[in-house]
Amino acid sequence: MPSVERKFILQVPSSTENLAMIRDFVTSIAEQAGLTPGEVADMELAVDEACANVMEHAYGRDLTKEVSVRATLDGDTVEIDVIDTGQGFDPTAVEQLDLEKLISSRRSGGLGMRLMKTLMDEVHYEMIPGKKNELRMIKHLRKK
């Protein structure tokens, strides 16, 4: 019997103060989907990184904006979409410098994306100019 798709949405003001709420939301969904504790922690961090990027770069710390986190469970995957309407910022396009080069240039950009790519099975970015930006992250469920 095919699994029923379930969707969950959290929408919060764009303040880093709300990252804790986003992490709790993602943790709860990942646990419900049956991910292992390690996978839950991976997803928690990946989504935190994506949302922090939106708050600090796409919205430039504009607290009047909103960040949406949409989770979709279908029995095979957990998909998390981070949606914003800010200035398009494609984190997947950020140059991935090694740590030594970042330190010597006193930069830390790109670390969040490196974490997202490492911790999730798939990461995609879609920009619809003037409408929305969507970062999609997918974790495949390991069948027992």
């Binding site: 804790a20 961090l45 935190d48 922090a52 830390s108 490196r114």
Partner: protein, 123 residues
Amino acid sequence: MATSFTIQRSTQDDLTILSLAGFLDAHTAPEFETAVEQEIEGGHRKLIVDCAGLTYISSAGLGVFMSFLEELRENGGDIKICGPSPKVLQVFEILGFPAIFDMLPDVPAAVRRYAECPVRGGE
């Protein structure tokens, strides 16, 4: 829902120990950044950051370690990291921190490391 994060400061001879506890994320990283800045302004350049109480770290927190490292090392200091839980250590490892930073199991080991090698790479 505020993120809980605290920093406790102590000293041992010329070493400053900053003990972090709670969640170090994009919201709390500025507090850590200010604490490190204050140490540098006060002339304290040999830092030990004790992560034993840290339950969570994101790249914003890691960025603080990175942004001060060169300045400290150029002035005879360092940041030695100790005590991270397996969950926090995994994040340091994904980004390659052990190749650049001294990472020790606890504060006494970090103190010993300063005695052996004050600045990593300066052996």
